[in-house]
């Protein structure tokens, strides 16, 4: 098993007729992902054509769901319309929304998050690379790729990866794969201060997933999400966990690319977070080159076989 999505999961892509959404819809189809519908208001009835595949486009998420049985949507629509696109998925009762869009106004996400309270839909992102559950084929094809991550760097296996950063996630996955260690699912939760799912939400799922034997948690400066996850891990998670926190050299008060990566007080610096991670028994990678090796050390200490 994996978390969030499996190779059988049927996906909608909102914004499939745009350059960005279309390009990644094609790459997901190449990966073997079940991209069954696109949504672009006003283009319903048309098709998204890629190689020999034709994906129907609908005017609304509800129509797309009804016609195809899709349960998940990936959002590639521009920032001013992205919050509305997420709410449309919630209203249509999808299981999961993966919001790739970068630059959504923070107030829009505050309102979306409030509107979702008590609803069964889960949101990953925004401003994230998405979710990949690797498949068993060549270069991990036959899996489920939602978003913009490179599929081929993955390998089907038993490690869960959760991160706020895109390229840093790829770095960790690639380190694992080149060491012959595969992944159950890799999840980018996004770099914004208000996001749909936290490190902890994803780590709880990895903890319950029988197939996942070890976890890499990648965080950065700003907020306290990594600290909350670490405290929970200490009490509840027996699986080996490795961590890395980016931004040890970041100056206070400056936004380091990600809207959420800003040091506000003494508690959200990299040093403070690393100290808590260590206290909670997480093997902290000394450098970003050390992420996979840190997990290997943690697994060895707990006598867990990662592959």
């Amino acid at each position: 098993m994996a978390i969030l999505v499996t190779p059988q999961t049927k996906i909608i892509i909102q914004g499939i007729t745009g350059d960005f959404g279309g390009r990644h819809a094609g790459l997901s189809l190449d990966y073997g992902t079940q991209v069954v519908a696109g949504v672009t208001p006003g283009k319903g009835g048309k098709f998204f054509e890629y190689k020999d595949q034709k994906v129907p486009v609908f005017n609304s998420v509800a129509e797309a769901k009804k016609a195809t049985g899709a349960t998940v949507s990936a959002i590639f629509v521009p920032p001013p319309y992205a919050a509305d696109a997420i709410l449309e998925c919630v209203d249509a009762g999808l299981d999961l929304v993966v919001a790739i869009t970068e630059g959504i106004p923070i107030k829009d996400m505050v309102r979306v998050k409030r509107a979702m309270q008590g609803k069964p839909t889960r949101v990953i992102g925004p401003n994230c690379p998405g979710v990949v559950t690797p498949g068993a084929g060549k270069d991990s094809t036959g899996g489920c790729r939602i978003g913009i991550a490179p599929g081929y760097i993955h390998k089907k296996g038993h490690v869960g990866v959760v991160s706020r950063s895109g390229t840093l996630t790829y770095e960790a996955v690639y380190q694992l794969t080149t060491r012959g260690i595969g992944q159950t699912t890799s999840v980018g939760i996004g770099g914004d201060p208000v996001n749909g799912s936290s490190h902890l939400d994803i780590i709880k799922m990895f903890n319950e997933d029988r197939d996942t034997r070890g976890i890499i948690m990648i965080g950065e400066i700003g907020g306290t999400a990594e600290v909350e996850a670490a405290r929970w891990i200490k009490e509840n998670c027996k699986k080996p966990v490795a961590g890395f926190i980016a931004g040890a050299t970041a100056p206070a008060g400056r936004r380091m690319g990600h809207a959420g990566a800003i040091i506000g007080g003494a508690e959200d610096t990299a040093a403070a977070k690393i100290a808590v991670l260590k206290e909670c028994g997480i093997e902290v990678a000394a450098t970003p080159s050390d992420m996979a090796d840190a997990l290997i050390r943690a697994a060895k200490a707990k006598k867990v076989k990662l592959s």
Binding site: R114, A115, S165, G191, A246, R255, G257, P288
Partner: protein, 393 residues
């Protein structure tokens, strides 16, 4: 995005938040016109820069204090002349300081007591939070640590907005008398309306003051905005003061590069914000000092790399460059060609270490080594970081 105090106070007034009467001036010739708008009597003169600690700051010419109390308008005019055009160094500006290009004159009101009031996003609950304290005019972090019982917080449900009972909770908590309480309630509601309507990231009033006549005023105002929302607030965007920003950072934003200048000697050029931060960290780990944060985004086109090199080379402290690209989707060979062309175009003479990983990286590395340029390739982030640190040592 940050704005100046005088701009923040104009915004406050627009939303019905009372502030002391004031007027700004950008030249000595403007001083009489600005001062004419204020009554005769005690006047404050305040340097307008985007940094805190102004009152305790020192100008590079030795003049002390970026904020001055003056008994008369004539004295205020004199003090303002000493500040305008000079460079103010505070605990927040760094040693280089900031040039004061605007001074702000305000009426110096009689103060009964100082309070603290701020509105910002609470990340844990994903809701706005109002923070208030009876201890104004001091650092709130210090109050939170030493006397947490003097801090009051209300979390606002974004579906309902600020509720009356929450305003009462704050007003009673702060211990205002009835006349003050009425004014403070109105001020808090107006300030929240401003926070919400303008997509502010943070509004901080420190100090909020009461006067002997029962008035409640925002004596200082610090406001910053969510950059993601500026597209729908042209009126806010027009308040941006480019004088307050690093010219290299302004140039970078024109090319959709995310650049932040630091004070080290190893320039970093990276795709992705997390990887860019991590690259700075690994340089430091191996004994080097990063000169900047630079995220070229997921892509890294030749045009962007050329622009990035030019910006990096504009920093005279830079002694070497580390390029770290994880080309997930993009062809690494295309990126390698872009780097080679960019290096030739800008006539790069500093040591350059490139770490390219991902799609078609073998061809990319071959392109780099065949280029005839003095490019060193790194196999991993650690390898590349160690190489550049050694090259600039």
């Amino acid at each position: 995005m940050n704005i100046h105090e005088y701009q923040a106070k104009a915004l406050c007034e627009k939303f019905g938040v009372p502030v002391p009467k004031g007027a700004a001036a950008t030249s000595v010739a403007d001083f009489p016109t600005a001062l004419a708008q204020l009554p005769e009597g005690p006047t404050m003169v305040k340097s307008q820069i985007h940094a805190g600690g102004r009152g305790k700051g020192t100008f590079t010419n030795g003049f002390k204090g970026g904020v001055k109390f003056c008994k008369t308008k004539a004295e205020a005019r004199e003090m303002a002349s000493a500040m305008l055009g000079n460079t103010l160094v505070t605990v927040q500006t760094g040693p280089a300081g900031r040039k004061v290009q605007t001074v702000y004159f305000t009426v110096a009101n009689d103060i009964k007591k100082e309070y603290y009031l701020a509105i910002l996003l609470d990340r844990r609950t994903s809701r706005p939070v109002i923070i208030a304290s009876t201890e104004g005019g001091v650092e709130i972090e210090k109050v939170a640590k030493e006397t947490p019982e003097k801090i009051f917080k209300v979390f606002i449900d974004p579906a309902y907005g600020l509720a009356d009972y929450q305003v009462r909770e704050l007003v009673f908590g702060l211990g205002f008398n009835p006349a003050e309480a009425k004014n403070a309630s109105k001020l808090i509601r107006s300030l929240y309306a401003m926070y919400w309507a303008t997509d502010a990231a943070m509004v901080e009033i420190n100090p909020l003051v009461t006067t002997p006549t029962g008035e409640v005023l925002a004596l200082d105002a610090k406001v910053s905005f969510d950059d993601n929302s500026l597209f729908r607030h042209p009126e806010i965007l027009s308040l941006r003061d480019l004088n307050e920003e690093d010219p290299k950072e302004i140039e970078a934003s024109k090319h959709e590069l995310n650049y932040i200048a630091l004070d080290g000697s190893i320039a970093c050029l990276v795709n992705g914000a997390g990887l860019a931060m991590a690259t700075m960290d690994i340089v430091k780990h191996f004994g080097g000092n990063p000169a900047n944060f630079l995220d070229v985004g997921g892509g890294a086109s030749k045009e962007q790399v050329v622009a990035a090199f030019k910006i990096i080379l504009g920093d005279k402290n830079v002694k070497g460059i580390l390029v770290n690209i994880f080309g997930g989707i993009m062809d690494c060979d295309v990126i390698a060609n872009g780097i080679v062309e960019a290096a030739k175009e800008v006539g790069l003479s500093l040591p350059l270490v490139v770490r390219l990983e991902g799609n078609n990286s073998v061809a990319g590395k071959a392109t780099l080594s065949k280029s005839g340029l003095a490019i060193t390739t790194g196999d991993s982030m650690a390898d590349a970081a160690q190489k550049i640190v050694k090259l600039v040592a």
